[in-house]
């Protein structure tokens, strides 16, 4: 900025014109660059989708749409279907989000609004560190420590107390959708909490002061002013978390029990699309088998797209409502 001011002072009118022109020129280049970067991202994702489409042709031709509702996964009989995996993926990812979103938001609020300054940064580091634990470590720790000590007793209690609800039907084994979802929830926590925290921190002070001045309690200020104001950012964080939960492989595979079960019970073992891929990809012995696995990846791709579409519509509706209420 100071450069411009100086230029204006020192140079004549004609020089000033060339300078603006050059700057405008810079803007054109910059604009082209941003478009290029945006395109690279779109093209990469498109190419991945296209690759999945191209390399699953055998399986798509053989099973057609029936692939989506097929309940078998039989490499010996060469009969493949995706339903148990679609179901398991949706159930475990949604359960993980239900567990992780409130906790993640709580952490974000605590770190941005309540924690004393000296505690804020170290706690933030610790929470973000959860993202750095490799998923195989989550898997092994979950399998040998977390599930037997923590998850199984809770699952037993849920089953004994609420076993009449299909959601908590027994029998209870260690590995289950519940166990996988709990560990998934821990894994997506850092994303949700760290991004939401920064969203809260970025909200202008004036918003808070106005709410407090009107006599709101701190919690009312947070829940009725900060959350609606930062909603887009928070939902962005939740969507990143959802992506992680849908695509996570090794930790889930070690904890979910890998069973083609279609019951409603979260205490039963299940199977996800991502864990199926990681389980069988390296040992798929004939082309149709491999292509069926790739079609699973394609289905996951499409489902992620669909879920994001739904999420966007929800955001749009919520945002419309809150703008009319809060910002008028």
């Amino acid at each position: 900025m100071s450069v411009i001011v100086q230029a204006k002072k020192n140079a004549g009118v004609s020089r000033w014109k060339t300078l603006t022109r050059r700057l405008e020129h810079g803007d054109t280049i910059f604009r082209a660059l941003t478009i290029l970067a945006a395109l690279i991202v779109v093209v990469t994702v498109g190419a991945i989708g296209l690759q999945l489409w191209n390399t699953s042709a055998l399986s798509r031709d053989k099973f057609g749409w029936g692939f989506l509702i097929g309940q078998d996964w039989n490499p010996v009989a060469q009969n493949f279907g995706a339903l148990p995996f679609i179901y398991g993926t949706l159930q475990s990812a949604l359960l993980a989000l239900v567990l992780a979103v409130p906790v993640g938001l709580g952490i974000a609020i605590f770190l941005s609004e309540l924690a004393p300054d000296w505690l804020r940064q170290p706690l933030g580091f610790l929470v973000e560190l959860l993202a750095a634990v490799p998923s195989v470590v989550y898997g092994l720790w979950g399998l040998f420590v977390f599930v037997p000590i923590f998850v199984k007793p809770i699952a037993d209690a849920l089953n004994q107390g609420l076993g009449f609800i299909p959601l908590f039907q027994g029998p209870v084994f260690g590995p289950s959708r519940f166990a996988a979802s709990l560990v998934l929830a821990i894994m997506v926590l850092p994303t949700i909490s760290a991004v939401s925290r920064d969203v809260f921190l970025a909200i202008p002070r004036a918003q808070r002061e106005a709410a407090l001045a009107l006599g709101a309690t701190r919690w009312e200020m947070i829940s009725q002013v900060l959350v609606p104001y930062g909603l887009s950012g928070i939902l962005g964080a939740v969507i990143l978390g959802l992506g992680r939960a849908l695509g996570e492989t090794i930790a889930v595979t070690m904890l979910i029990g890998n069973n083609l079960d279609l019951t409603a019970s979260i205490l039963h073992p299940g199977y996800t699309m991502a864990s199926l891929i990681v389980n069988e990809f390296t040992e798929a012995t004939y082309p149709l088998y491999l292509q069926a696995l790739i079609e699973i990846a394609l289905v996951l791709f499409a489902i992620t797209l669909l879920l994001n579409l739904i999420a966007r519509l929800l955001i749009w509706r919520v945002a419309r409502r809150t703008t009319t209420e809060a910002r008028v």
Binding site: V43, F173, Y271, F281
Partner: protein, 383 residues
């Protein structure tokens, strides 16, 4: 606005170009491409003067394949560096399927597989030869308390078809007559058997289901034999550690794991009745006896299933692991190093195999394998 639209149009064209270029090369990712350009010498290793022992100038030979032999191979290559410091071996465990695909695509110098290659796989890679290196045994492992509530540490005996019936869901309880009759000294409880199997595709599952198919016609017809199958009952655990973890968590659980894993982690395992009706311990001798039972039937393929071996002293559930090498090599220096190494592995290398609980080849099989190794050529000429 106009400018933006032009830019987008331009971008879309660019995008298509990138997509096309990306997809030109991915007709068959990772799995075997049908036509791999054979002329391109395989991976990395820059060939420096082979006589120079300097580490940086050493020849690198890359290999990829199953996870089962990885600990042994890495030990072998480590020890072999003291025998011949002019060559470096890099073996990575990417799975047997991956190993077959990579050697077919010639992105590596040798492959490794626990599963026997089928005809179509061999056709896709003409001249590819399987060499058995060692064998491994599989044992049933369980977590169970007897009727008095004491953990059972004794070896439970499983009659010949019992495992098949358990994995089919026909035998449901630990005190099923089939099991109590075979184990009169053990107070087997009235408890459900929680069946645990591998969830990941693996050579271990291939060998185990091969065994079940041999001893049970029902299994063969209903489930079959593959690196992973549609299990009628049970929970899946990823890898040996996954199976043993699930078994440890559930009283009454039964799973199959590699013998090496059971021994190293001090897990309780049972005995399985062999074809002649005997119960033998899964020792080196028992597995070598199974290998010898089929020794003369290996033929040119040098690969054979050794489950349900007929010998009195044979352990019934075991299998070879193989190294995959082209009989006609294109890089003579590498070919020489590779064959020299394999000769070493089958002689001096066996002590490390035993140390790590792998089972070395019996003499008869080794002779056949060494004679085949002598026939490897380089660009059509003998080495």
């Amino acid at each position: 606005m106009f400018k933006l639209k032009t830019a987008i149009a331009f971008g879309v064209i660019l995008a298509l170009a990138v997509i096309v270029s990306a997809c030109a090369s991915n007709a068959a990712p990772i799995t075997a491409p049908t036509s791999a350009p054979a002329a391109t010498p395989a991976s990395g290793g820059v060939v420096a003067a082979p006589t120079s022992p300097a580490a940086s100038g050493a020849l690198t030979v890359n290999g990829a394949g199953g996870t089962f032999p990885y600990p042994l191979y890495s030990r072998w290559f480590y020890q072999y560096a003291t025998v011949d410091p002019t060559v470096k071996f890099n073996y990575q465990a990417i799975g047997s399927g991956g190993g077959i695909a990579q050697i077919t695509a010639k992105t590596v110098d040798f492959g490794a597989s626990d599963a026997i290659l089928n005809d179509s796989q061999l056709q896709a890679a003409p001249g590819l030869q399987m060499f058995p290196t060692v064998a491994g045994a599989i044992v049933p492992s369980y977590n169970l308390k007897d009727t008095d509530g004491n953990p059972i540490t004794a070896t439970i005996k499983f009659p010949r078809t019992a495992l098949a019936d358990i994995y089919l869901g026909k035998i449901k309880k630990w005190n099923d007559p089939v099991l109590t009759q075979a184990n009169p000294d053990i107070k087997l409880p009235n408890k459900d058997i929680i069946v645990v199997h591998r969830s990941d595709g693996s050579g271990t599952t291939f060998i185990f289901t091969d065994y079940l198919s041999k001893v049970s016609a029902d299994w063969k017809q209903q489930v079959g034999n593959s690196t992973s199958v549609q299990w009628p009952v049970g929970l899946g655990g990823k890898g040996n550690e996954g199976v043993s973890g699930v078994v440890a968590q559930n009283e009454g659980a039964l799973g199959y794991i590699e013998l090496a894993y059971a021994l190293q982690n001090k897990l309780t395992y049972g005995l399985v009745q062999n074809k002649s009706g005997d119960y033998v311990q899964p020792t080196t001798a028992a597995v070598q006896s199974a290998m010898a039972d089929f020794g003369t039937d290996m033929g040119d393929k040098l690969a054979i299933s050794i489950v349900d071996a007929p010998g009195k002293t044979s352990w019934p559930i075991s299998g070879y692991t193989y190294i995959l090498v082209y009989m006609n090599q294109t890089d003579c220096a590498k070919a020489q190093k590779l064959t020299a190494f394999l000769k070493w592995a089958w002689s001096s290398g066996t002590q490390y195999a035993t140390e790590l609980e792998y089972i070395p080849l019996p003499d008869a099989v080794r002779t056949a394998v060494l004679s085949k190794l002598g026939q490897i050529t380089c660009n059509g000429k003998p080495l």
